[in-house]
């Protein structure tokens, strides 16, 4: 069948099972948008307010569904606007295919109007990218892009299509969806070594990360933990991969992790690291991290071994299989003393204050929200204090229900991610917890939520400051609050209404329950101005480079 490049692109997306793409039109993608128009009954295109929103939407769609997210942008500024979203997906290993238009092949390299070398720009932030100069290569390139995005450690792939290639005609031959490449199992002698360490271990601990979510290895990690009675902690990216109400759960580990998780990493004698990478937000002091433990590192990416922390055993492979094999080779064990020692460090949350006129505590908003929403609720966050409070006070029970930019820490991620998640999971409730700073970055996407009447609840944790940066200034810069107190006068209710959304306010403790209930009962986007104190802190906090010994648990005690 003869088709033009744009039609071939659409057919290839359909081959891959893509039903929704996020994008923004422009000169060099006119042919592609024409094909999208003609195929609108087969593939849904969501127009965002900004290409960055489209890139985060593709990412949020992917995180919420496990499928490959797709975004489309025109050449030049359209393509560069995708960059932050592609980098966000890259740092968190999210499978994505970004399609950009470019100027016609004969205009490449001449600084033509809206020409950008986007493949050059995105080399460091993609798994791979392609510039397709011949329409006859297009179909296989798209298929390969999907294969690469999903194989091994997932990530974004960009395909740049010059305008004449999207117009040129070629023979299209249908093909099945791309499959991820097979993964080799770990070496038997390494497995044996790991088994031996775990047989000897008296105080084992599991530290898991986003790799467990990517591999879908939740059952396997739980089975291993339960069979061997091993407590579990997780990086931010792994939250939801292990149920937070499980007796073996110790919480998040690292800079803003729980006391219990951080003490356990100090005291364990064997550490199973599963799909995690010892980022500096987890292992602030890599030399001192789990210093008393033999470390077994399970990961699909061989380059993660010994990158940040030297480990004892490297188990490269598919995580489900590796976890299953390890568990099946070990006897059931009980270690009540170690479990008791770990769980004794869990800190109880304070009682929820009852004074209706009292101040609004962000943790109370999140705890109340948790009570009002079912486990299938998807929580997207932005980046800052509100993000850490979300990780701490909105426990996760299911994978793919917390969407947060962990690796890149992208302010402005949340609006797009929430949109993408709502399209990917139309039956789930989607709540975005953002900050006043982040919201001002990409609030333009409110218009997208309104156009599609997405019932997303946007909670703006409005401390009127760039709280996380301000907290660092408080702790490390003697309270010189440089550029973190923007004194913005935004009226969030009017703003929401101007976009065609609903606006609500939580101004005192007594508003929390009724206003959240009203927001959740609304059929369409709602923005809630949650007026919290600018002095609220994220605690505990291990300063950068530090260990659990340096943990700050109370700001008052620290300041003395």
């Amino acid at each position: 069948m003869k088709l033009n490049g744009s039609e071939i692109l659409i057919e290839c997306l359909l081959e891959q099972g893509v039903d929704t793409v996020f994008g923004y039109p422009g000169g060099t993608v006119l042919n592609i948008y024409d094909a999208l128009y003609k195929n609108s009954h087969r593939i849904n295109h969501v127009l965002t307010a900004h290409e960055q929103g489209a890139s985060h939407a593709a990412d949020g769609y992917s995180r919420a569904t496990g499928k490959v997210g797709v975004c489309i942008a025109t050449s030049g500024p359209g393509a560069t606007n995708l960059v932050t979203g592609i980098a966000t997906a890259y740092m968190d290993s999210i499978p994505m295919v970004a399609i950009t238009g470019n100027v016609a092949v004969n205009l490449l390299g001449r600084d033509s109007f809206q020409e950008i070398d986007i493949t050059g720009v995105t080399i460091p932030i993609t798994k791979h990218n392609f510039l397709v100069k011949d329409v006859n290569d297009l179909a296989d390139t798209i298929r390969l892009a999907f294969e690469i995005a999903q194989s091994g450690r997932p990530g974004p792939v960009l395909v740049d299509i010059p305008k004449d290639v999207s117009a040129a005609v070629a023979e299209y031959v249908p093909a099945p969806a791309s499959k991820p490449r097979p993964i080799n199992p770990p070496k038997p002698e390494r497995l044996a070594q790991a088994i031996e360490i775990l047989k000897q271990a008296k105080r084992p601990l599991i530290y898991m990360g986003g790799g467990v979510i990517a591999a879908g290895a939740y059952q396997q990690i739980r089975a291993l933990a339960e069979k061997l009675d091993i407590p579990v902690c997780s990086s931010l990216m792994g939250l939801g991969g292990f149920p937070a109400d499980h007796p073996l759960w110790l919480g998040m580990v690292g800079m803003h992790g729980t006391r219990a998780a951080n003490i356990a990493t100090r005291d364990c004698d064997a550490l199973i690291v599963c799909g995690a990478r010892f980022s500096d937000r987890v292992a602030g002091n890599p030399k001192g991290f789990a210093a008393g433990a033999k470390i077994i590192h399970m990961d699909v990416d061989h380059a993660e071994f010994d990158k940040n922390v030297q480990v004892t055993v490297r188990l490269a492979g598919e995580l489900k299989e590796v976890l299953f094999t390890v568990a099946s080779r070990l006897e059931e064990t009980k270690r009540p003393e170690w479990i008791a020692a770990c769980t004794a460090n869990k800190v109880e949350w304070p009682a929820i204050p009852t004074d209706p006129e009292g101040p609004v505590d962000p943790s109370v908003i999140l705890r109340t929200l948790r009570e009002l929403t079912d486990r299938n609720t998807i929580l997207a966050t932005d980046v800052g204090q509100h993000q850490m409070w979300s990780a701490q006070f909105y426990p996760q029970y299911l994978p793919r229900h917390l969407l947060t930019s962990g690796g890149l820490g992208t302010m402005g991620y949340g609006m797009g991610a929430a949109i993408g998640a709502q399209f990917g999971q139309p039956d789930s409730r989607v709540v975005l917890v953002t900050g006043d700073g982040c919201f001002h970055m990409n609030l333009n996407e409110l218009t997208t939520m309104v156009s599609h009447q997405l019932p997303v609840v946007v909670l703006v944790m409005n401390n009127r400051v760039l709280g996380m940066v301000r907290q660092w200034q408080k702790v490390f810069y003697e309270k010189r609050f440089s550029a973190t107190d923007p004194e913005r006068q935004t009226d969030y209710v009017k703003l929401a209404e101007a976009f065609g959304a609903k606006g609500l306010v939580i101004a005192k403790n007594g508003d929390i329950l009724p206003v959240l209930s009203e927001a959740l009962a609304t059929d369409g986007p709602v923005v809630v101005d949650c007026r919290i104190s600018k002095d609220a802190n994220v605690l505990p906090m291990i300063p950068p480079g530090g260990s659990v010994e340096n943990m700050i648990e109370s700001m008052e005690a620290y300041e003395q």
Binding site: T119, I123, P124, K127, I148, H302, A303, D306, K307, Q310
Partner: protein, 172 residues
């Protein structure tokens, strides 16, 4: 770590795609890998190029370089060899000043070191020296007193000793 930092040869087999060098050098740059030399050439298989990189580092660093390289889609194979396990050579072109008085000495030295004489100008002689990097360096040091006016040098290219090749284990 007290482990030795050895000069290591990293032999890379890669698809001849346009940006492959950019991808590799970008990787070295952003990960802070300190490479010493890099030489690219074609192979007898038209779709494949060979890139020879030399680097001094601990085993763990070299391992990290190899694993990061293997993540690049265009890279087919990465062999790590100690410099002592290879036949290795580099090439230097050296333009030495040679007056009527010194011309004879320069030519004698070239002969003693097994250099080719590529060009003789009015006041200079251009020599080609090949060999291991220490041999080339020794020759350069020897020629310095005559006055080196200009010099060009390739990096190291190397093949594993014995019958093994980089193509081993590849199908087709």
């Amino acid at each position: 770590m007290s482990e030795n930092r050895n000069l290591t040869v990293i032999s890379v087999l890669a698809y001849n795609n346009p940006a492959v060098l950019l991808r590799m050098t970008g990787l070295f740059y952003r990960r802070g890998f300190n490479i010493e030399t890099m030489v690219a050439c074609q192979t007898d298989r038209p779709s494949l190029s060979r890139l020879t990189v030399t680097m001094t580092g601990h085993n763990a660093e070299i391992r990290q370089v190899r694993q990061q390289l293997l993540k690049l889609e265009d890279i087919v194979k990465v062999d790590v060899l100690s410099i002592d396990d290879c036949s290795a050579s580099e090439l230097a072109l050296i333009k030495v000043s040679a007056t009527a008085d010194t011309r004879k000495q320069v030519l004698n030295a070239a002969q003693a070191y097994g250099c080719r004489v590529l060009d003789i100008g009015e006041n200079t002689i251009t020599l080609e020296m090949t060999g291991r990097d220490e041999e080339v360096n020794r020759f350069v040091r020897y020629m310095q007193p005559f006055g080196i006016v200009e010099m060009g040098c390739t990096g190291v290219t190397a093949l594993a000793r014995g019958d093994t090749t980089i193509f081993e284990g590849l199908d087709g």
